[in-house]
């Protein structure tokens, strides 16, 4: 009986597993294989170099710089993006006029094509007639006007703002769904206990959102580690000093643009390992924290 059940279960899982193996596991193994070669990706000239690409990667300052920027993006996601999403979700869960419209508006960046988002923010940051510089000029802060995407110090924060703006709505929707699942009676009990709106947020909403916060944080961690889109598109022509370079964009530039397919594959494998490791650490920490008390 048990054997029959297992066979049926495998029959259902098999198609998904086959596709996963074909489009994820096989390319991953191939990447690792290619990373052991000095190869441009298309010539017959494939030179086996063993782990030399990985050794070079460990000494590559650009790689470490890119990784640092990934960590910056990750921190911004966790420290800025998620709290803003939680606060927005909590505010819009209350008796707010046009809450649905506002929610839809905040979610809209998520469904816009990445290129459109990039263009939008390029216009905002335009050094000559961009919205941001216009606003700064309008309120008398002429000295702060600058080419936001063209300067090494501001390019990364500028792109990070755009990334956070894009994904805040998505996380807000997750948190809004989480808030709906918190029983109204718990809020009412807190109200009767004498909790102010802020105290209810701290003592009811936030703890009630823990499971969603965990999922959102995991998505942010994994997403930040492998992020590519806006950091590649927005500083059109590239920011000075590779100011917005991430591991994924560096991998693309090395593997595709610079014809160093083997080295690019080594970066890809390293990126994959880093993403798995950070995701794994995050899950492990969550599991440790969620041990129930007093059972």
């Amino acid at each position: 009986m048990r054997g029959d059940e297992n066979r049926i279960a495998w029959m259902f899982v098999a198609p998904a597993l086959a596709l996963y193996a074909l489009f994820v596991m096989v390319p991953l193994c191939q990447s690792f294989w290619f990373s052991l070669f000095d190869w441009n990706g298309y010539s017959q000239d494939m030179k086996f170099t063993g782990m030399r690409n990985y050794a070079a990667l460990l000494r590559d300052g650009v790689f470490w710089g890119s990784l640092w920027r990934n960590i910056f993006l990750l921190a911004a996601s966790l420290v800025v993006q998620l709290p803003i999403a939680i606060i927005l979700a909590a505010l819009l869960a209350g008796p707010v006029r046009f809450a649905r419209v506002l929610r839809a508006g905040l979610f809209a960046p998520m469904i816009l094509p990445t290129v459109i988002v990039a263009l939008l923010w390029i216009f905002i940051y335009d050094p000559v007639d961009g919205l941001l510089n216009g606003l700064l000029g309008g309120i008398g802060l002429q000295s702060l006007r600058r080419g936001w995407l063209g300067e090494a110090t501001t390019a990364l924060p500028a792109v990070t703002v755009a990334v956070c703006w894009r994904y805040t709505g998505f996380h807000m929707i997750l948190f809004a769904a989480g808030i709906v699942n918190i029983p109204a009676e718990t809020y009412e009990a807190a109200e009767l206990d004498g909790a102010s709106a802020f105290a209810r947020f701290i003592h009811v909403t936030l703890p009630g959102l823990y499971p969603v916060i965990r999922v959102s944080a995991l998505l942010s961690v994994v997403g930040s580690m492998k992020y590519f889109d806006l950091n590649y598109l927005m500083p059109s022509g590239g920011a000075p000093d590779r100011a917005t370079e991430l591991v994924a964009t560096y991998m693309y530039r090395e593997g595709i643009n610079a014809d160093r397919w083997g080295y690019g594959c080594a970066i890809a494998v390293a990126l994959c390992a880093l993403t798995l490791a950070t995701g794994g650490i995050k899950l492990w920490l969550d599991r440790r924290r969620s041990q129930p008390a007093g059972v």
Partner: protein, 379 residues
């Protein structure tokens, strides 16, 4: 300690949905009052208005000597126990019970003392470090009650607190709540749809239907002297039997007639109450299952109220037996002695207890004989 007064209170929800029609009720200090009725009768809305969780459309609510219409829930000096416990899942039992006191900046020592006293009363002292997820339903409910006790409020409000418990636990908690009331001597308002809970817990029971209070009285009053057909049918398990028929005068006596075989003499003290009803007027006769008698056991009472009925189903309950009977196309129930030798399919004589018959107006459901019965039985 405080009385709760509802004066012409109304609640209309958007879309002109009247949840509570103009309602007035005085709950005495230290009284245990149970609001009971079917779903949608307005009992929970009434409780929530007392708590301040629902705005009042019209009227005033006073707690103690203060009108509380515009006072927020936290300042009404009330505590509420919810149906689904509404405990804070991430806090321990101690933290759940202490939370309200912490928010009110009570000294730590007093918080500890109050929480431990409440825990002792409820027998949950050993659970203080557990989270709600590690508690059973009964334990959670005790914690919810404990959270209310530590506040030492003027009024306790209970919103169907036992609904989520299994039958055995419900009976246990019912007795505990009763003991708690006797111990704390605080005003308690309790909402339930379970009439057994209402009867066993309440000093007085408020029966509601469709946003209206149908009757207020002690459990025995509403059971013995229901003012209308709704209360008569709602209170009591099994419910009261109803027979639709007509009045008939015969040799100076008043009878209830249904079909050709059911002619029941109504008590003489009902005559005056029936005067307004013309001869042959349509009425509904109500009698509780325990007042459907076996004539041979009470020949003194069975005189003039005997009729034949067929036994359809027998439910032996151990201490007693419920018979499902049919007479004149009416199905009704009799609660008889457990040793009754009735057989399914048999047609036997039954009688109605003359002192416990109720005659209802079929148009408005009003009990036409309640005053006469009260006067007669109470001397």
């Amino acid at each position: 300690m405080a009385e709760v007064i509802l004066d012409k209170v109304r609640k209309v929800f958007p879309g002109n949905v009247v949840a509570v029609a103009e309602t007035s009720l005085k709950i005495e200090d230290q009284e245990f009052v149970v609001l009971v009725g079917p779903s949608g009768c307005g009992k929970t809305t009434t409780l929530r208005m007392i708590a301040g969780l629902e705005e009042i459309t019209d009227g005033t609510i006073s707690i103690g000597d203060k009108v509380v219409n515009d006072i927020p829930p936290k300042d009404r000096d009330i505590a509420m126990v919810f149906q689904n416990y509404a405990l804070y899942p991430h806090k321990t039992v101690f933290q759940n019970m202490a939370f309200a006191l912490q928010l009110r900046r009570f000294p730590k020592a007093e918080i500890k003392q109050r929480v431990h006293e409440a825990a002792k009363i409820l027998g949950i002292e050993e659970l203080m470090e557990r989270r709600p997820s590690a508690l059973s339903g009964g334990q959670r409910q005790r914690v919810a009650v404990g959270r209310a006790i530590v506040r030492q409020p003027k009024v306790f409000l209970f919103d169907e607190p036992l609904s989520n418990l299994d039958a055995k636990m419900r009976v246990e908690m019912r007795a505990e709540l009763k003991r708690l009331h006797q111990r704390l001597k605080t005003t308690m308002v309790y909402v339930t749809h379970d009439q057994v809970e209402a009867m066993t817990l309440g000093d007085r029971v408020v029966i509601m239907e469709g946003g209206y209070i149908k009757q207020v009285g002690t459990p025995l009053e509403v059971y013995d002297f229901p003012e209308n057909k709704f209360v008569a049918g709602f209170i009591g398990t099994p419910p009261m039997n109803f027979f639709s028929g007509n009045l008939q005068s015969q040799q100076g006596s008043l009878y209830f007639r249904k079909g050709s075989s059911m002619l029941i003499k109504l008590p003489d003290h009902y005559k005056q109450a029936m005067e307004s009803k013309g001869p042959d007027a349509a009425v509904i006769l109500g009698v509780r299952p325990e007042n459907v008698l076996e004539p041979e056991k009470r020949p003194d009472l069975a005189k003039d109220t005997t009729f034949k009925a067929r036994i359809d189903v027998i439910e032996p309950l151990g201490a007693e037996m419920i018979l499902y009977l049919t007479a004149e196309n009416s199905i009704f129930l009799a609660r008889v002695d457990a040793h009754c030798r009735a057989q399914v399919g048999e047609v036997l004589s039954f009688a109605m207890h003359p002192d416990h018959m109720h005659v209802f107006d079929p148009n408005n459901g009003k009990n036409l004989t309640v005053a006469a019965a009260q006067k007669y039985l109470r001397g």
